[in-house]
């Protein structure tokens, strides 16, 4: 092994971790307050301490520092941003398809915080998506430069990583051409795009343009962030579909792609040389796409590490010794079998929890779980939903996986921990606070710091059994938080012997007071069509009317009286009938909102009043009936449901009577509301 942990003689910096990480618990992200790698180096050089220092020991690079600290790279594959299938996935624009990047720094910061909270210490992100993302080309298919969006977003990404304290493993060249789903702006077919714009794989002129105009400026940017770059990965899965070499046995049965192994090696070696020219200390790798019998061939490629895929339904990993590789190995991706939903979640969980211990035991240096969120389908992601916007959708295996990482870190550091340190999840500036709890504890206390003051307990005796969601996350609601204040939170875990452990603070945010998006929805106008409510579709079976018999607020509310048999057509059963609607506009696309309303004296059988939020095409965004109640206000009860705002920010609330049999529903409704939730 070439890269031994050691002392760097050309020490450049001091106390980097203190300088950089001090922003972790600070206020909202402000890149201007952060120091670049070079600035930090310059400022701290005089103190004679290494930028890669950990625990009093100086290391050659972030890779060595991270391994010294945690013993293993607990990686998370973020890989792309947005939808893979829609090619909105790159840090930069795709200038061939015309698709713009959807990289969202705020979401990335939240994600990175939560990834760190789960115990991961690095994330993998792809750079030149499909080999073309973020790149500018001339008419000959030669790379002429980097898209500005790409450079800006990459810098933001690295700044955020530095702020949060999670490392980034950038993969410069992901799968080349393997995921083209689009026609080029000039009408090129996917194959034509590949042969024209990916010529740098096999063509000297193309290669030089790519290295000079894309890789070099990227590395120049990355060089400022070596403190968060343990590895720079040169290719993902060997640029899947690009190698088709019968001689080596490395080939894909794709209709395109005919690189020889020789072409590929020269490409990787050139990439490696460019990276090392600007960052001689940084570690480089390739991912070998798990050609087990051929892994040894990478011994002769100019990289430092080999990443291998590890998909197995029992969490097994191949012993590197059996691969005859001479370089350190990490799992570039691991999970249970991709796309396999024919196994129980328990089996998948057992496998997912087995990978890290097995990889550590076999001598791997890291492993990247595939993947954080996945817009194409939730089966492999960490969330039951396609995105990570709702932490309550974190899958059940996530907390056990976090505990596995905890235990492996304890073992590596030879720590005997009596009470796990709770870990705050990202504080979204609302009333709801989430944290990852401790094991075998009796209670928690939630403490709050207001406007930078002292820590004060706001919730005591939080029950680890009943206040923990089924996915293992502890959920608290601070009902005393008010607008105009800045808060951060921390949790204290107590076991039955009185031992305790205090979490690090959450991020600090100004309390968010959401705007009411559904205006004048308390029926105070006294009649329909005045206050914005209108009938939608047929009014054949009127079922609702304004009334001042009662109200929760004001003088009026809505009285719903869906009579027995109403809407019944012929001898069939009742049908969906009259609908009332009210519009809300100006919602922020992609943001989570909550519909709520109050009801009273609901009497029903199997008949129901359906209350939905729809987009302008009448597709339901959420669906609710008078069923769920979390809050009472004397005889009024509150029902609520959440939804994600559509791209145009326009929705409508629709009330619709329905019954499946000869059953009725009667109730009063008041105070409809749509507000952003955090």
């Amino acid at each position: 092994m070439k890269f031994k942990v050691g002392i760097l003689t050309t020490a450049v910096a001091v106390g980097l971790s203190a300088v950089v990480l001090s922003t972790t618990a600070g206020s909202s992200f402000d890149a201007t307050k952060l120091l670049s790698f070079k600035q930090v180096a310059q400022l701290t050089a005089a103190k004679g301490t290494n930028i890669f220092e950990y625990n009093g020991v100086n290391y050659n690079n972030e890779y060595e520092r991270l391994l010294a600290k945690d013993g293993f790279i607990y990686g998370m594959d973020m890989n792309w941003f947005g939808s893979f299938a829609q090619n909105t996935v790159s840090l930069g624009n795709n200038n061939l398809s015309g698709m713009a990047s959807v990289f969202d720094p705020a979401k990335f910061e939240k994600d990175l915080w939560n990834i760190k909270a789960l115990g991961f210490n690095a994330v993998n992100v792809w750079m030149f998506q499909d080999g073309v993302g973020g790149l500018l080309f001339d008419d000959e298919g030669l790379v002429t430069g980097l898209d500005n969006n790409f450079l800006t977003n990459t810098k933001k990404m690295l700044e955020i990583a530095r702020k949060i304290g999670v490392d980034i493993v950038p993969s410069i060249q992901p799968h080349g051409k393997s995921h083209f789903f689009y026609q080029g702006l000039n009408g090129e077919s996917p194959n034509e795009i590949g042969y024209k714009y990916l010529r740098y794989y096999w063509d000297d002129e193309g290669r030089q343009a790519y290295l000079n105009n894309a890789v070099k400026p990227l590395c120049k940017l990355l060089a400022d962030y070596q403190d968060v770059l343990p590895i720079i990965d040169l290719t993902v899965e060997n640029g899947t579909n690009m190698i088709n070499d019968m001689e080596t046995g490395m080939f894909y049965a794709a209709e395109y792609g005919s690189l020889t192994w020789e072409n590929f090696v020269s490409f990787v070696n050139d990439l490696n040389a460019e990276v090392k020219a600007q960052m001689p200390n940084v570690m480089t790798s390739v991912e070998d796409v798990a050609w087990s019998n051929n892994s040894f061939k990478y011994n002769d490629v100019d990289v430092d590490l080999i990443g291998r895929n590890g998909y197995d339904n029992q969490g097994k990993v191949v012993d590197p010794k059996e691969l005859f590789v001479e370089k350190p190995v990490y799992l570039g991706e691991f999970n249970t079998f991709e796309g396999d939903d024919n196994r129980s979640e328990e089996l998948k969980t057992a496998a997912r929890l087995a990978f890290y211990p097995n990889a550590v035991e076999k001598g791997y240096v890291g492993g990247f779980f595939f993947q954080w969120d996945r817009a194409e389908g939730a089966e492999l992601g960490m969330f039951t939903s396609a995105t990570s916007d709702n932490i309550e959708a974190l899958k059940d295996f996530a907390i056990p996986l976090a505990n596995t990482i905890r235990d492996l870190k304890y073992a590596y550091n030879k720590e005997t921990v009596i009470v796990d340190k709770p870990t705050m999840l990202y504080y979204s500036a609302g009333s709801t606070i989430y944290f990852i709890g401790s094991r075998d504890v009796e209670s928690y206390t939630l403490e709050r710091k207001t406007n930078g003051g002292k820590w004060e307990a706001v919730l005591k005796n939080i029950d680890p059994d009943n206040d923990t969601l089924v996915n293992g996350i502890v959920k608290c609601v601070d009902t005393t938080a008010t607008g105009g204040n800045t808060y951060s939170y921390r949790a204290v875990a107590y076991n039955s012997d009185g031992d305790y452990s205090i979490s690090d603070p959450s991020n600090e945010e100004e309390f968010f007071v959401p705007e009411e998006m559904l205006k004048d929805a308390s029926f105070e106008e006294g009649e329909i069509d005045v206050g914005g409510w209108y009938t939608l579709g047929s009014d054949q079976y009127p079922f609702a009317a304004y009334t001042n018999e009662t109200s929760r607020t004001g003088d009026y509310c809505l009285y719903v009286n869906w009579a027995e048999g109403a809407g019944k057509i012929g001898t069939g059963n009742a049908q969906w009938a009259s609908q009332w609607a009210k519009d809300a506009t100006g919602l922020t696309p992609g943001v989570r909102y909550e519909l709520s309303y109050w009801y009273k004296d609901a009497v029903r059988g199997d008949g129901s009043l359906s209350i939905t939020v729809r987009n302008k095409n009448n597709a339901n965004l959420c669906w609710n009936t008078i069923a769920t109640t979390e809050e009472d206000d004397h005889e009024w009860k509150k029902a609520k449901a959440q939804f994600i705002a559509p791209s145009d920010g326009e929705v409508k609330v629709v009330l619709m009577g329905s019954s499946t049999y000869d059953l009725s529903i009667k109730c009063y409704l008041d105070d409809f509301s749509i507000k952003e939730v955090r």
């Binding site: 024919n342 196994r343 129980s344 328990e346 089996l347 969980t349 059940d396 907390i399 056990p400 505990n403 709890g437 401790s438 094991r439 075998d440 504890v441 680890p464 059994d465 009943n466 923990t468 969601l469 089924v470 996915n471 293992g472 069939g572 059963n573 059988g605 199997d606 499946t660 049999y661």
Partner: protein, 490 residues
């Protein structure tokens, strides 16, 4: 026709969800503050929770509206006098005292966590408060939703906060054991030699790898029994022999059910019968479930002719079948609204404060009829309670389990059942041969809870002529899932 089937299926889905949600969930709630209060109701037997036990007159049950008893199909049991009910489970203060005093004092101060899917009602709460007062063992109810019950259990286990008692539901056997959620009962202090307390025969049917993982306490609500309720007024007023009379006469079977149903339908113009779950419980009276356990192994029973014939019989009861006597879309609500004369019911609905405290008509109940000439079996769902892996207080939990579920330790005034007659009928049901539903956990394995609903819907809603086709289809699913279970955790 198709839309009706869809709606019936929707009703079936709703029914299953409601049954699942309410099963013990509504048990032992505060007595009878019914939504029917204030209406012009001809009340059934009054339930005075303050009555002393001595006030109970078993002869009332025959003449009153509160229920009935009778012989089983062999004519052996005279239910009113309990002469053939081997063991009743009436509150016994002396036994309660003896039991509580037998609990080691060393367990005082321990907390036993019970994972439920319902909010404990006042009866349950009072019973366990008394237990704590006498033993010093504290009870902590950990509540979750039924549909995430094992997710919650798994999560608590992962956090090293396992409950001390949890349930192996009908849809989770044997997978909850195979997934290492439960320990064998032998780790605890349950005295399984107490056959008057534990239903060992039934527990033996759920042994896994030769060991018990879940207990069933006799007289409790932890087996859902299927049986028949009927509108006694409707039979009397129309001069039709009631199910009770047929049962008493030892002549209560599939054939006589059809005979009286046709008469009732002819006289009233109404459907004779309804059921939740599309008559699923009626199918179970053949004594065979879709999946059985033989020598500790799961067995696909769908090749059984008796099983298929039972479903064909059920299909033919439907208004679209050959007998045209049953409207399975009416459900319990239809029975309450007197739209039919009989309904297939489950014992949970007979708990105090549940569905049968106050009805508008006289009613009675009998076991479900079985095929003529065959022995009586009772369609059943077991909810076995055991010790989760990671439990820290197994010994204390053992005493809690026995005390909590045994009705003889109930608090007076907060008894389990809506009246004493029902309690004794429940006792009788516990003593019969039972057909347990095992298939649900197998059909749903690795998939969706709706799969079992679809399974029942396919076989129950498409007519007798199509039963074989659908049974064959689902047989492949069951085979595949049994294989998958053994592949994954066997």
């Amino acid at each position: 026709m198709k839309s009706k089937k869809i709606i019936q299926l929707m009703a079936l889905v709703l029914s299953i969800l409601m049954i699942a949600a309410f099963l013990p969930a509504c048990s032992k709630t505060e007595n009878a503050s019914s939504s029917q209060e204030g209406l012009d109701i001809n009340y059934g037997e009054d339930v005075d929770i303050d009555d002393d036990e001595e006030d109970y007159d078993p002869t009332e049950i025959v003449t009153s509206t509160g229920g009935s008893g009778g012989n089983n199909s062999t004519g052996a049991v005279t239910y009113e006098t309990n002469s053939k009910v081997e063991q009743t489970h009436e509150i016994d203060e002396n036994k309660k005292k003896d039991f509580l005093e037998s609990i080691p004092k060393s367990l005082s101060g321990k907390t036993v966590k019970i994972l439920t899917w319902w909010k404990p009602g006042i009866a349950e709460t009072k019973k366990m408060e008394y237990f704590t007062e006498k033993t010093g063992i504290k009870i902590k109810w950990v509540q979750t939703d039924l549909n995430v019950y094992y997710q919650k259990l798994s999560g608590l286990k992962a956090q090293k906060n396992s409950p001390d008692l949890a349930c192996i539901l009908a849809d989770a056997f044997p997978t909850a054991i195979m997934k290492d959620y439960f320990q064998p009962l032998e780790v605890g202090k349950l005295d399984l030699s107490k056959t008057n307390v534990f239903d060992i025969d039934s527990m033996n049917k759920f042994k896994w790898n030769g060991k018990h993982y879940g207990a069933l306490v006799k007289g409790s609500t932890m087996i859902s029994f299927g049986f028949m309720v009927y509108n006694d007024d409707m039979f009397k007023n129309n001069g039709v022999t009631s199910p009770y009379e047929l049962w008493q006469a030892g002549n209560w079977n599939w054939d006589t059910l059809i005979e009286i149903s046709k008469k009732i339908k002819e006289k009233t113009g109404k459907a004779a019968l309804t059921a939740e779950w599309q008559g699923f419980r009626l199918q179970q009276t053949c004594g065979i479930d879709a999946v059985g356990i033989k020598d500790g192994k799961l067995v696909n029973n769908l090749s059984s002719t008796a099983y298929r014939d039972a479903w064909k019989w059920v299909n033919n009861l439907d208004l679209n079948g050959t007998e045209k006597i049953a409207d399975f879309g009416l459900n319990r609500t239809g029975f309450f609204e007197q739209k039919c004369a009989m309904a297939v019911e489950e014992n949970w609905a007979m708990q105090k404060g549940e569905r049968y405290d106050n009805l508008k008509f006289s009613w009675g109940y009998v076991p479900l009829p079985c095929p003529k000439g065959s022995a009586q079996v009772i369609p059943s769902d077991a909810k076995l309670w055991g010790f989760p892996v990671g439990s820290k207080n197994v010994e204390a939990a053992s005493y809690v389990l026995e005390y909590w579920q045994n009705p003889i330790y109930d608090v007076k005034g907060y008894e389990t059942w809506t009246n004493d007659s029902v309690a004794k009928f429940n006792d009788w049901l516990w003593e019969q041969n039972k057909t347990f539903k095992v298939a649900e956990g197998i059909v749903n394995y690795g998939g969706d809870y709706d799969y079992y609903t679809n399974f029942v819907g396919d076989i129950a809603l498409n007519g007798a002529a199509n039963v074989d086709t659908y049974v064959d289809k689902w047989s492949k699913v069951i085979d595949a899932n049994i294989k998958k279970i053994y592949d994954e955790f066997g």
